[in-house]
């Protein structure tokens, strides 16, 4: 039961009550036409005009009163129904018995349904049906008072059933609309809360980043143990920034930053932004540079490229020691994507990679060249002793189309 549904001042409620008011006004016009047409045959024509006057006045009063949520209560609803009830009953006195027996409508005709609609809007299905039953009783009483109960026709029954259905259907629809509105309001509220939380998180993260950057800067200047603290702060700053970057990127939230594991069940047709997968691998020793706009590639390709970069960075760590720095550059060319990984390590003499592959150490061969080759791309490795190593991977954008 929705009796306790508070009217409130929501847009939906205002619109519903406006609809009832419009119905009431239109029904008044219809009632006026019917009374004007039939008044010649009334037993008491003046009574007919008096009823029309009451209908007109109450239409005005009800329209104004229902507009104000504070006055929209049971006293008003009860008065509404009582007036409808009385206007129906008056028919027994105004109309002649033969007319009533012949199935002429009651004086207010369909105007009384406005009261049923009001009850249904206020209280829902069951309350609407209750109002319809009350007016149904009034219709039956008209026949009882006029002494025409025996000759009661289908018209009266039709009227009662229509009132009943109006109460039922409108009550139900109103309940559904209110539920939908409540759900929408909850969703909007939730969204606002989420946005506020994100705003707070950004502020907090920004403050934390500022402090970490400061610690890193001052620590580096102080040297000694403080330098170590500074280095740690720098690592945390990079990690936190990467995390925020990954969290803000669409679709990247479900992948742990820096761990580009190949996912199963994802079709190559889904596009993913390559940037967060690479910026997630940034650290104090690794700088990642990307364009400002997304670099969409098929999801599978993105993860393969990120894994190749991870392998390259892993290589840097293993062969060049902790002190080595590395730079990752992502470029979005026409029809292809280029990722370069450069380090400032000791570099390698020519032929060293081939020798490693021949020895069965397949690190670079498989994890980088193999991956990129599978994507239809190319890898070039430039290195010389003392000049670091640069790995450049170029992957065509269209590779997905060939694989499907």
């Amino acid at each position: 039961m929705a009796d306790d549904t508070t009217g409130g001042t929501t847009g939906l409620d205002a619109a519903l009550w406006r609809s009832v008011a419009v119905y009431r006004a239109l029904a008044l016009v219809y009632a006026a036409v019917v009374i004007g047409k039939n008044s010649g045959g009334y037993a008491h024509p003046l009574g007919g005009w008096a009823v029309l006057a009451v209908l007109t006045v109450w239409t005005g009063v009800a329209t104004l009163a229902y507009r104000d949520p504070a006055r929209r209560g049971w006293p008003l609803l009860a008065a509404d129904l009582a007036i409808a009830f009385a206007c129906i009953l008056t028919t027994a006195w105004v109309e002649t018995a033969p007319h009533i027996a012949a199935g002429r409508p009651t004086l207010p005709v369909s105007w009384v349904a406005a009261a049923v609609l009001a009850w249904a809007v206020e209280g829902g299905r069951r309350v609407g049906v209750t109002a319809a039953l009350v007016l149904g009783v009034a219709n039956l009483l008209v026949h009882a008072f006029a002494g025409t109960a025996g000759g009661m026709g289908n018209t009266t029954l039709n009227g009662i059933v229509l009132l009943f259905l109006a109460g039922l259907v409108v009550g139900q629809v109103v309940r559904l609309a209110r539920e939908a509105e409540a759900r929408l309001a909850r969703a909007v509220e939730l969204e606002a809360a989420t946005r506020e939380r994100e705003r707070l998180a950004r502020r907090i993260h920004d403050s934390v980043l500022q402090v970490l950057a400061m610690v890193q800067r001052r620590g580096g200047e102080a040297g000694g143990e403080a330098a170590e603290l500074g280095r740690l702060a720098g690592e945390q700053e990079a990690a936190l920034r990467a995390l925020i970057g990954a969290g803000l990127a669409p679709g990247a939230g479900d992948a742990p930053a820096g761990v580009p594991a190949p996912r199963t069940g994802t079709g190559p047709e889904r596009a993913a932004d390559l940037r967060p997968l690479l910026t997630g691998q940034a650290s104090a020793a690794v700088t990642v540079s990307t364009p400002a706009t997304p670099v969409p590639v098929p999801e599978h390709d993105a993860h393969e490229i990120a894994a190749a970069v991870a392998a390259a960075l892993d290589n840097v760590r293993r062969h060049c020691g902790d002190g080595a720095r590395a730079w990752v550059l992502l470029e979005d060319g026409p029809g292809e994507v280029t990722v370069s990984v450069r380090d400032d390590g000791p570099g390698m003499p020519p032929g060293r990679l081939d020798a490693a592959a021949a020895d069965g150490r397949l690190g670079v061969e498989q994890s980088i060249r193999g991956r990129v080759r599978d994507l239809g791309g190319t890898v070039s490795i430039v290195s010389a002793p003392g000049e670091g190593t640069e790995i450049e991977m170029t992957v065509p954008r269209a590779s997905a189309a060939f694989k499907v």
Binding site: D206, L209, R217, A292, R342
Partner: protein
């Protein structure tokens, strides 16, 4: 780098008091004159007119108007204030916008004191101060402009092959000195190439703004 050079008039714009003070102290210790500090963008724009700094060190995250807007105002001032963006945020779009709006330098806050002072000095001299991250952003922007559907009066800026080559090396973490060695160029030439990439982008941005203003103006007259 060298403390004994001509002292500079510098303004510091940062909403974190901790950073504002630290940066101002570093500048003062290096012999520069900190003529103004501001924690809000509008204040910065207002007092810059009176303080007449040569260089403004601007954080991008400000409570009222963004650092990008502050940069736009300062770069358009007469005489123009050179803007060095000093930011802890990795918000790439903001950095790119600030550079397009007229900033000539970008440095992460985690950069060391010496690196920072050197950057301020170079910014004052009109040099472009790039990080690898900024070079990546600028490269990406040129690619984006080149890939965008061409209009009839297409005046999108293009990089020369040499400029692209230099910018890629900056993005890969090479110093200007290393780049000069590798490409057999003078340090100054490398510096000029980098600066040109920025100049063309800023000019294009100004042209776009004017074009936008004219289009809007004409629409209103209709």
């Amino acid at each position: 780098m060298i403390v004994s050079e001509v002292p500079l008039r510098v303004m510091v714009v940062d909403d974190h008091p901790m950073w504002r003070e630290a940066v101002a102290r570093d500048l003062a210790e290096a012999g520069h004159e900190v003529v103004a500090t501001a924690g809000e963008g509008r204040t910065a724009v207002r007092i810059a007119a009176a303080a007449r700094p040569r260089v403004a060190v601007v954080d991008l995250q400000l409570p009222d108007i963004s650092g990008v807007e502050v940069t736009r105002y300062l770069a358009a001032a007469d005489p123009p204030v050179r803007v060095l963006v000093l930011s802890a945020s990795g918000e790439q779009q903001d950095v790119l916008e600030a550079v397009k709006a007229g900033a000539t330098g970008y440095l992460l806050k985690s950069a060391g004191r010496e690196e920072f002072l050197d950057a301020v000095r170079r910014t004052a001299d009109g040099d472009a101060v790039f990080t690898p991250g900024l070079a990546g952003l600028v490269l990406g922007e040129y690619r984006r402009l080149a890939a965008a559907p061409a209009r009839e009066d297409d005046d999108a800026p293009r990089l020369t092959d040499r400029e692209t080559e230099v910018l890629r090396l900056v993005a890969k973490g090479l110093t200007y000195k290393q780049i000069a060695q590798r490409l057999v160029l003078s340090h100054r030439t490398v510096q000029n190439h980098v600066q040109n990439t920025l100049g063309k982008l800023q000019l294009h941005n100004r042209v776009e703004l004017v074009r936008y203003a004219i289009e809007k103006g004409l629409d209103e007259e209709d």
